[in-house]
């Protein structure tokens, strides 16, 4: 009994300025490469989707041909900046009032003439069909709304971490994001448009409308307009947020004088909605009636949703539709209702990109031949607006304006991403150690920290492209963009899901890429690698001279000392830049004496006296001393014990982290000096894989599919995670199903303080899952 879609708009009455000047390059980006359009026209908002290709500069390293010795000169490898074409999905949301202006703009900038069709969905698609066809010269091809909605929903749930959230109005953070569960099915989608549709989704292609209700957003709007003479939906919600429903509703205490204790019904519970207005001789305020109406409808929808969830035994219930669409008032009342009717057993879930589902689905329908579902996609933080704060106190006009052009961009990832098969419980895995959305103090610190570091990042970005004159200008644009993001996050920490150190770092990488600074550290990394390689043989030799037990300790110390070399950490980059003499030995000397802050070295040593591991997966961190003098001797020792080693490094650049292609070259060079590494490579006992990531942190639930396959094939029984970004900011609490070793030096005094240590404190965390002890 419900319409899945939206309604005829009633917005014609409001006086929105229709002749706006669009900042074209900031909203309809990459139109010149655009193909495959889709549009979802709702009651008041239009959502446009298109696919485009983006040309980006990427830094590639290439080994010199060693047969021509003289050409190699003193360079370790060649760094070439190349143009790379990547695929991107653009989604833009705007008021229907702008539709004509937008279509004109698109027509003027559209270069691609192969596109003949535009996929359309939504209640307004019919109304604007003629306009679209005339303006764009594309044939409008209508798609079923519900199908689009579900397709879109599956897509965001699979591809966007922190897509779903629980809403808690009075909590420290209103939005509590859910960890991505790779198993998204089955779920219940309750779409509250003018009516309500309740859909059970069982798989990518299987869904069923199991029920619905005619009491929905249209009832709130229609009945609300009759009762309060207020025409706009947003204004009605605003009225409701100011009202007192108890003057209109008959509460349990109005009938009982208090609670109905034996049934557990509290006195404040609504016994009869509008029960007090059954009289001709009393006036009721608009605010109170609107509030009562809102409660009545939200409670009713919540109750039905719970009854359906119970009947079909589903625990994941997502709410969407224009009634919800980011409105805190309705999210709150729905959440309250679900809590009440299920006694907290089911949580009401909402989606960050709920407004885009139809457009995403329509786009996917049209792009089936490109198989978008075969790829993994990632939200581009640089190009996406993020979740808006829609405080009910905000003037509705202001609100409409602030949400005038909302954007979502998703990049097609080179690699398909999956879970690390060695996670103890993938569904409860949370990569990040501190959730800055909930921890205001930590948020304050890190936002400040990233803002402080911005000058240095800009400087380094410019320095990385010395021959390009406009680099300074681009770097300045990067600074503005990233500073703006930081400011947004200060006010709306929930904009891109849970705010974490990882997301702040990733946002910075996205912004750098956006302004064509693909790898600001490329030259620094090269220099460091080169220097470190010169010491490799010496380092290995001195280790080999030690007794077995001394060697094990020296190797671990080497990894830790190597990890101090990190341009990403503020405290260290200052030391490094001011004192280039700061060397490996100095780092070892500075290292905290045992017992370390977290110290399970004795257990590790004990373990090493036992049988060798079958295969170790090692997530590496920085270039230079870290990887060459710290990690490689450790790897060498493992190989000598008969353990196979899989080295996982980043697919793309991030800070001074060693990338997979750099590591390929470095390993070859080391192999040329070291027979142990050489034979291990030849015999395939040492393998290099890419992590699938371009982040200084590590999300074990989004890793390269090949890595997961290798890990499984080799029966990996040890996972080593190194460095602050991967082992402390993320994965500090990660539980693995095999033995794990987390090693890092804390190079940030605030974080050290938080963890009860001091600057350069050492974390050496060796863990054996229960029941797996040798």
């Amino acid at each position: 009994m419900a319409e899945c879609g939206r309604v005829d708009s009633n917005t014609s009455g409001h006086t929105m300025d229709k002749s706006i000047t669009l900042p074209p390059d900031e909203i309809f980006r990459n139109l010149e490469n655009a193909k495959r359009f889709a549009i979802d026209i709702g009651g008041s908002l239009t959502k446009l989707a298109y696919y485009s290709t983006v040309q980006h500069k990427v830094a590639k390293v290439r080994s010199f041909d060693h047969s021509t010795k003289e050409a190699a000169s003193d360079k370790l490898y060649e760094i070439a900046v190349q143009e790379e074409v990547t695929a991107r999905l653009h989604f833009i949301k705007f008021e229907n009032a702008y539709i004509e202006t937008c279509l004109d703009f698109i027509k003027d900038h559209l270069v691609n003439t192969e596109t003949k069709v535009i996929k359309a969905t939504g209640g307004g698609a019919h109304k604007f069909k003629e306009l679209i066809e005339r303006k764009l010269g594309l044939k409008v091809d209508k798609e079923d709304e519900m199908t689009c909605l579900i397709k879109g929903c599956n897509f965001v749930l699979k591809n966007i971490p922190h897509e779903a959230f629980v809403y808690a109005r009075h909590a420290d953070s209103e939005f509590r994001f859910q960890t991505t569960n790779p198993d998204i099915f089955p779920y219940l989608l309750v779409n509250i448009g003018s009516g309500v549709s309740i859909v059970k989704v069982e798989s990518e292609d299987k869904f069923e409308r199991i029920g619905g209700s005619s009491i929905g957003g249209g009832t709130f709007w229609g009945l609300g307009a009759l009762l309060t003479k207020t025409k706009r939906f947003d204004e009605l919600l605003q009225l409701a947020s100011k009202g007192q429903h108890s003057s209109v509703d008959m509460l349990v205490k109005d009938i009982y004088g208090g609670s109905y204790a034996c049934l557990g019904l509290t006195g404040d519970l609504i016994a009869s909605s509008f029960g007090k207005s059954a009289t001709a001789d009393k006036e009721f305020s608009k605010e109170d009636m609107a509030k009562s109406l809102l409660h009545m409808i939200s409670n009713d929808i919540g109750q039905l949703a719970c009854l359906y969830a119970k009947l079909h035994n589903l625990s994941r219930v997502y709410f969407g539709g224009f009634f919800i669409r980011g409105h805190p008032v309705t999210m709150h009342t729905i959440t309250y209702s679900i809590n009440f009717f299920t006694k907290g057993e089911v949580q009401a879930l909402f989606l960050r990109h709920e407004g885009y589902l139809g457009a995403i689905g329509a786009f996917l329908k049209g792009a089936e031949e490109d198989n978008p579902n075969q790829y993994s996609w990632g939200e581009n933080y640089a190009g996406s607006s993020g979740l808006m704060s829609v405080s009910p106190d905000m003037n509705p006009m202001q609100r409409a304006r602030s949400g005038t052009f909302d954007m979502l961009e998703m990049d097609r990832l080179e690699r398909q991403l999956v879970n690390l098969p060695l996670l103890q419980d993938a569904s409860s895995y949370i990569p990040d150690t501190v959730d800055l959305t909930e921890d205001a103090q930590a948020r304050e610190y890190w936002l400040y920290c990233f803002e402080e570091a911005l000058d240095g990042v800009v400087k380094r970005a410019v320095a990385s492209q010395p021959d390009i004159p406009e680099a300074a200008e681009r770097a300045e644009k990067f600074r503005q963009k990233y500073r703006h993001k930081l400011q947004t996050l200060r006010h709306q920490p929930f904009a891109y899901g849970s705010l974490t150190v990882r997301s702040l770092l990733d946002t910075r990488e996205h912004c750098l890429n956006e302004f064509n600074f693909p790898d600001p550290y490329s030259k620094i990394k090269e220099r460091e690698n080169d220097v470190a390689l010169k010491y490799y043989q010496k380092a290995v030799k001195s280790l080999d001279e030690l007794s077995w037990e001394d060697r094990q300790f020296a190797i671990v110390k080497g990894v830790l000392a190597g990890n101090v070399f990190d341009w990403g950490a503020k405290a260290v980059s200052e030391v490094l830049e001011s004192n280039p003499e700061f060397g490996f030995e100095e780092a070892k000397r500075r290292l905290e004496e045992r017992p370390w802050l977290v110290d399970s070295f004795d257990q590790w040593l004990e373990r090493l006296k036992g049988p060798p591991h079958r295969c170790a997966l090692f997530f590496v961190d920085n270039s230079g001393v870290d990887i060459i003098l710290g990690v490689m001797p450790f790897v060498r020792e493992l190989l000598s014990r008969g353990t196979e080693v899989v080295l996982a490094s980043n697919s793309g650049p991030a800070l001074n982290d060693v990338t997979n292609s750099e590591l390929q070259i470095l390993t070859e060079r080391i192999a040329a000096m070291d027979p142990v590494i050489k034979s291990a490579l030849r015999e395939d006992r040492l393998t290099l894989v890419q992590s699938g990531s371009s982040s200084p942190c590590l999300d074990l639930s989004r890793l390269d599919k090949v890595l997961a396959m290798v890990v499984r094939e080799r029966q990996t029984d040890l996972v080593i995670i190194e460095g602050m970004g991967r082992a402390i900011h993320t994965n500090y609490y990660a539980m693995l199903s095999c033995e794990s070793l987390k090693m890092a030096v804390i190079k940030n005094s605030w974080l050290a303080d938080r963890l009860g240590g001091k600057l350069f404190s050492v974390v050496f965390k060796y863990e054996v899952p229960a029941g797996k002890a040798h």
Binding site: N10, G195, T219, D254, C262, A278, M289, N299, L311
Partner: protein, 372 residues
């Protein structure tokens, strides 16, 4: 709780059962017809005057009404034969009722007044201070279940208490038919008063409240008063009977031009209650009658929907609808009958009882005579 002045052998007259709801007070009164001359002699004047007042009138004050058509005659109760009367008045007139009790020196009869409904709790002190009456408070759902089962059992001789609508999906063929409620369990009991309670009844002493909704009779009347300016349930129903809800509601066919076949939704189904009222033009073109009708249809269908889901979850096929929302409200009963039949593809049967809203009061009276 021990009830004062109760003789183990026989309960003294007068026999009342009372149910004080959010909107209406329901009162059942047993009028003994087998009073012996000896008893007549002993009977105090107060008692006589109360009996005369209640049985010789059909209206009390401006708002009290005796539902004469529901009266049960020659009923044997606790060894006594007499007539059971059904009286109602609005809860907001309870002070006037208490004043009358005071004037008629009701308290001097030393009787126990068994009362249920929320008002038994809310007004307990008023009964004491205004009329010097002590209430014996009873749980409303206990009374409801007991009352339903009792009335159904004593009505086997005359016209059946329980009925249903035959051919509910065909307006021309739809007809009221008696239903013998033998082996009534399990049973879903839906009580539609100001709000709605839904109970699953497994035996006389075994039932549970499954859920409830605040969208009930009070919502219908409350919204009608705001939308049309009417002030009574009868007025609201009268208007509803003359209106057309399809002008107010947005139907599936208004959106899809016909049936939404992909999901098996017929074109006539309501997609959005009051959905047409989002448009200014349509708001200006509907009548008060249309609005009253749409309100009735919205509330009724919603109750139907929640009931159907409960029936499925509890695995119960028979649903009995009671409560004063259904009084003189054939429109809603037929809508419920239709909705149950259509959406369950004939699996669910909607049953109705003639004494609609009085079962709580009857249950309270039974508690007086046969304390459980």
């Amino acid at each position: 709780m021990k009830i004062k002045n109760r003789k183990t052998k026989e309960t003294t007259f007068p026999w009342f059962g009372m149910d004080i709801g959010g909107t209406l007070v329901k009162l059942v009164y047993f009028e003994p017809k087998d009073i012996t001359a000896e008893e007549e002699q002993e009977e105090v004047e107060n008692l006589k005057s109360i009996r005369r007042y209640l049985t010789s009138n059909t209206a009390y004050g401006t708002t009290g009404i005796r539902d004469v058509h529901l009266e049960l005659q020659d009923l044997t109760l606790c060894g006594r034969t007499g007539n059971l009367h059904f009286i109602r008045f609005p809860t907001h007139d309870l002070p006037a009722f208490l004043q009358m009790g005071r004037n008629k020196h009701f308290s001097s009869l030393h009787t126990t007044l068994c009362a249920t409904g929320g008002g038994a709790f809310k007004f307990e002190s008023d009964f004491l201070t205004m009329a010097d009456l002590e209430l014996h408070k009873l749980d409303e759902l206990d009374c409801l279940v007991r009352g339903v089962l009792y009335i159904d059992s004593v009505m086997s001789s005359g016209p059946l208490e329980c009925y249903y609508f035959e051919n509910p999906t065909d307006p021309d063929q739809c007809a009221e038919k008696p239903y013998a409620l033998e082996n009534p369990y399990p049973l879903l009991l839906v009580n539609i008063g100001s709000g709605v309670s839904i109970l699953a009844v497994y035996s006389e002493n075994n039932y549970k409240r499954v859920t409830g909704t605040s969208l009930g009779g009070g919502t219908f009347l409350g919204l009608c008063c705001l939308l049309t300016g009417c002030s009574t349930f009868e007025e609201a129903l009268e208007m509803a009977s003359q209106g057309e809800s399809t002008r107010v509601d947005k139907l599936v066919r208004d959106i899809y031009g016909g049936d939404y076949e992909r999901f098996g939704l017929p074109g006539w189904a309501v997609a959005s209650s009051f959905g047409n009222m989002m448009s200014k033009e349509k708001r200006e073109s509907v009548s008060k009658e249309d609005l009253a009708r749409a309100t009735l249809v919205t509330i009724t269908n919603n109750i139907g929907s929640i009931t159907r889901m409960c029936a499925l979850n509890e695995n119960i096929e028979r649903v009995v609808f009671v409560g004063n929302f259904l009084r003189v409200n054939t429109l809603s009963m037929k809508l419920l009958a239709y909705a149950m039949d259509y959406w369950s593809k004939g699996q669910l049967k909607a049953l109705f009882l003639r004494h609609e809203g009085y079962f709580g009061a009857v249950g309270a009276l039974l508690e007086l005579l046969h304390p459980s």
